[in-house]
């Protein structure tokens, strides 16, 4: 008889557990369906670097009655692939952040709904790369070589891309793998633009022999191998805005008068990158999606973008913050046509992998 209460405790425990997990699942489904029930929730698929002032977002929501929900889908390439994969049942209404190296893939996959924003006329013409009107340019930037000023204080800087293969710059460079990193791919494309199809692999072979270090992604290159973060490589593939960001985020008191890093802007060494937004086919919120795109290229957002995502606004006449004087734009950037990139990208990456990672000599 004494045993009874104990037995009940145990049964109670089991029942409690079952009820709890049932409750958990019920709540989960509830939350999942709430998202569906509100027709005015606009889902935006972005890359991981997406950032914008929260008050701007709140303002948009208050003015239009549209609630914004952002989903981060990895870096630009991985994000676009998620949108392509879920083509039949789109996971978002709007996609933001695919660039000109991915543009043809996005257009070819047929995932975008056509929309010509009235604001298109006010955008810089060089950013409008999709003339059909599926992809709206939002911002642009340049992938470029950065150098550590401390290291090069008493040493000569390289003066051209070809210099990087010279012995005096041996083991100074860290680059990202173009197969897994968007700046890595952009830099590879810049070398194709600079050296041409027949010579770029030779240049990369020289770089390999000269001890260039390859890592998987930007964070790794910048924060584990660049000398600024305690690594042994004073040259890194990054963005032309990185020196300005370095100054902006500087913790030194008083704030230094100039950034600790600088850009190397040789002719055709900085790759021109445009980031686009587009409406995903199959959206049930077409009108809201169009409003969102218009808003992305509106002045307040465009002027907020530079210090949030460290890119230049596509809108002509959008004021740049003072600190962007350290983010010089190259006079002769490297450009390739999106169609050409779409056609040859996979081959270039493959050849690059064979030459640089697997150490084979280029066939040509």
């Amino acid at each position: 008889m004494l045993l009874r209460p104990r037995v009940k405790t145990w049964r109670f425990g089991v029942a409690w557990l079952l009820v709890f997990s049932a409750l958990f699942w019920a709540i989960g489904f509830q939350i999942a369906t709430i998202g569906l029930a509100q027709p005015t929730t606009l889902t935006v698929l972005t890359h991981d670097s997406w950032a914008l002032d929260k008050s701007l977002i709140a303002q948009f929501e208050a003015q239009t009655g549209i609630k914004l929900r952002f989903l981060k889908g990895g870096d630009a390439g991985a994000m676009l692939n998620k949108a392509i994969l879920s083509k039949g049942a789109p996971i978002a209404d709007v996609i933001y952040g695919f660039d000109n190296t991915l543009l043809s893939r996005a257009l070819g996959a047929g995932i975008l709904e056509r929309y010509r924003s009235p604001a298109l006329a006010n955008l810089r013409s060089e950013t409008i790369l999709d003339l059909q009107g599926y992809a709206t340019p939002v911002d642009y930037g340049f992938v470029a070589l950065n150098y550590d000023k401390d290291y090069f204080r008493n040493r000569p800087l390289p003066k051209s891309l070809a210099d990087l293969a010279k012995p005096e710059f041996a083991k100074l460079l860290v680059v990202e793998n173009p197969a897994t990193s968007s700046p890595g791919l952009a830099f590879l494309l810049a070398t194709v633009a600079a050296f041409g199809e027949d010579r770029y692999l030779g240049f990369w072979e020289d770089l390999r022999k000269n001890g260039a270090l390859v890592v998987n992604g930007w964070s790794e290159a910048y924060y584990t191998h660049f000398t600024r973060a305690g690594g042994d490589r004073p040259l890194v593939v990054s963005y032309t805005t990185s020196p300005a960001a370095e100054l902006f985020y500087s913790e030194a008191k008083p704030r230094p008068s100039e950034p600790p890093t600088g850009n190397l802007l040789f002719p055709k060494s900085a790759f021109f990158q445009v980031e686009f937004a587009g409406i995903l086919k199959g959206t049930k919120n077409l009108e809201a999606a169009q409003k969102f795109i218009d808003w992305l290229v509106s002045k307040p957002v465009q002027e907020n973008i530079p210090t949030q995502m460290w890119v230049y606004p596509a809108l002509r006449g959008a004021a740049l913050p003072e600190i962007f004087k350290w983010a010089e734009r190259p006079s002769e950037p490297a450009r390739l046509f999106p169609q050409q990139i779409a056609r040859d990208r996979d081959r270039w990456i493959k050849e690059w992998t064979q030459t640089v990672l697997q150490g084979q000599s280029p066939k040509r």
Binding site: G28, F29, A32, G73, A78, S86, A89, T224, F248
Partner: protein, 503 residues
């Protein structure tokens, strides 16, 4: 019958969270190109390296954990803390650990030796990550060894012989269980070898990830996933069989043994030094985090990035929610397997064998409406952490002496009563050890790679990545501070879990 009834919720969960989404992705890859991918010698090379890395790590961890576990038999100052700490590195994002390693033994490291790209560093990192996986469950089982060894000694066996013939076989289940987990984690590891050794040390998992996430090359990805399974499943079946064969009843559990004041101090110094050596890359992180104290303040009210408070709250909230799902799942799973459900035995480990990116993309195909929902997030967390709890629970269940249970039965206790008064206390140490591992996996957000992230749900590890995505000293210092916060949060939770003593 019961064992299938009990297994039903687990199977349902696995079907929902793993099998169906995975099947959707793999199905895309069948057809042309599959054979070509299988014929690629480059992929076979990756597979061979993954295997070497997995088996090497597993062996190394087991060899290191065994003597350490013996030291933890004794009570000494800081014992609980050190034990809890062995699981803490598990929660850290790989890039943070890489920063720690490189600032200590990198090209410009504080120690002046450059281990970057060497096997030393790769296996060291593996030990740093995985040692706790073997150590914790082992420590809970060791006390049961006393009696059998004493019996063997009484019967005239020499200490060495008693240990080799009685001790080791009794420990084998726990060694194998921990070893197989380490194997799985390092065999399928993504970031560690790549970050510390460069592209030439990429595992098969890296190739799967690149094929799927960047190229949408389904035939290749399917081939890679199948290759990976073809290796990990036999290795696991072997482990599981051994584990079953050698699971003998181990006697009572006990508290750590007391030592004299001097001896316990000596043990503390000794173990402290060993730990310091293994975990020194983390120490260099701590030093860097305190180089500029202002980051400790700015991190809480950052305007550009997610403030640490929000991220900490999210981490704890998701961890709590996930545990609600993990505990019943792992409990049912372990119980059903213990009752003899063999299918579930190896099926339950499948989450650790399959490439997360494949499952994650599978979610998008299978449940497009659930994207960005709390349900799928918690599901992903639970999927990758419940096997840890279940595997730690099993050796305890299997080692439960039949005689005690049967004795209770003879004395008239009902089945429920037997479970509550006999079974429950006996599995408690295993439960605690497993819970610690599962909690570490949840806090480390192994599941996070499976789902789309929402900015307002940014957790501590995502807050680190967020900062390491922007150039500058400020973001970098804040990232290191958050990493240290993550270590402290996980460390205190795990210490509390270890302190808790059943009465």
């Amino acid at each position: 019958m019961t064992r299938w009834l009990l297994a039903l919720p687990v199977l349902g969960f696995l079907g929902f969270a793993l099998l169906y989404p995975l099947a959707r992705i793999l199905a895309l890859g069948f057809g042309e190109g599959l054979g070509e991918a299988f014929a690629n010698p480059y992929y076979w090379g990756r597979l061979a390296w993954s295997l070497v890395y997995g088996l090497g790590s597993s062996l190394l961890c087991v060899l290191l954990a065994l003597p350490l576990a013996y030291a933890f038999r004794y009570r000494f100052p800081g014992r609980d803390f050190l034990l809890a700490f062995s699981t803490v590195p598990f929660v850290l994002p790989t890039i943070v650990v890489a920063i720690g390693f490189l600032s200590l033994v990198g090209p410009k490291g504080a120690l002046g030796i450059n281990l970057y790209g060497t096997l030393w560093m790769l296996f060291w990192a593996s030990v740093l990550y995985n040692l706790g996986l073997v150590l914790r469950p082992l420590v809970t089982l060791l006390p049961g060894l006393e009696l059998p060894i004493a019996a063997a000694r009484t019967l005239g066996a020499s200490p060495v012989r008693a240990y080799l013939r009685v001790g080791i076989p009794l420990l084998l289940p726990a060694l194998l269980s921990g070893g197989s987990l380490v194997f799985l984690y390092s065999f399928t590891s993504f970031g560690v070898p790549l970050l510390l050794g460069g592209p030439k040390w990429g595992t098969l998992e890296v190739e799967t990830y690149t094929a799927l996430a960047y190229r949408l090359a389904f035939p290749e990805a399917t081939a890679l996933v199948l290759m990976q399974l073809a290796v990990s499943i036999p290795v696991l079946l072997f482990y599981l069989r051994l584990q079953e064969r050698y699971s003998l009843a181990v006697g009572t559990y006990g508290e750590p043994k007391s030592l004299g004041a001097r001896a316990s101090r000596l043990l503390f110094v000794l173990l402290g030094m060993v730990f310091l050596l293994i975990y020194s890359p983390l120490l260099s992180l701590f030093i860097r985090a305190f180089e500029r104290p202002s980051a400790w303040i700015s991190v809480w009210h950052s305007e550009v990035f997610t403030p640490a408070g929000l991220a900490l709250g999210n981490t704890l909230a998701f961890a709590g929610l996930a545990l609600l799902l993990v505990i019943p799942l792992a409990g049912l799973y372990a119980y059903a397997v213990w009752r003899g459900n063999r299918l579930l035995d190896w099926l339950g480990l499948l989450p650790l064998m399959v490439s997360p990116v494949a499952v994650g993309l599978g979610y998008l195909l299978a449940y497009p409406r659930l994207r960005g929902s709390l349900l799928i997030l918690i599901t992903a967390y639970a999927l990758l952490s419940y096997p840890l709890l279940a595997r730690a629970l099993l050796p305890s269940l299997r080692a439960m002496p039949r005689s005690v249970v049967e004795g209770a039965r003879v004395l008239g206790a009902s089945p429920w009563h037997r479970l509550w008064r006999v079974g429950w206390p006996l599995v408690q140490p295993g439960l605690r050890a497993g819970l610690a591992l599962a909690l570490a996996a949840v806090i480390g957000e192994f599941g996070a790679t499976l789902v789309l992230q929402r900015p307002e749900w940014t957790t501590l590890s995502l807050a680190i990545y967020e900062r390491l995505g922007k150039p500058g000293q400020g973001p970098f210092e804040e990232a290191i501070v958050i990493a240290v916060l993550l270590v402290l949060a996980a460390g205190s939770l795990l210490t509390v879990l270890g302190r808790y003593r059943a009465t």
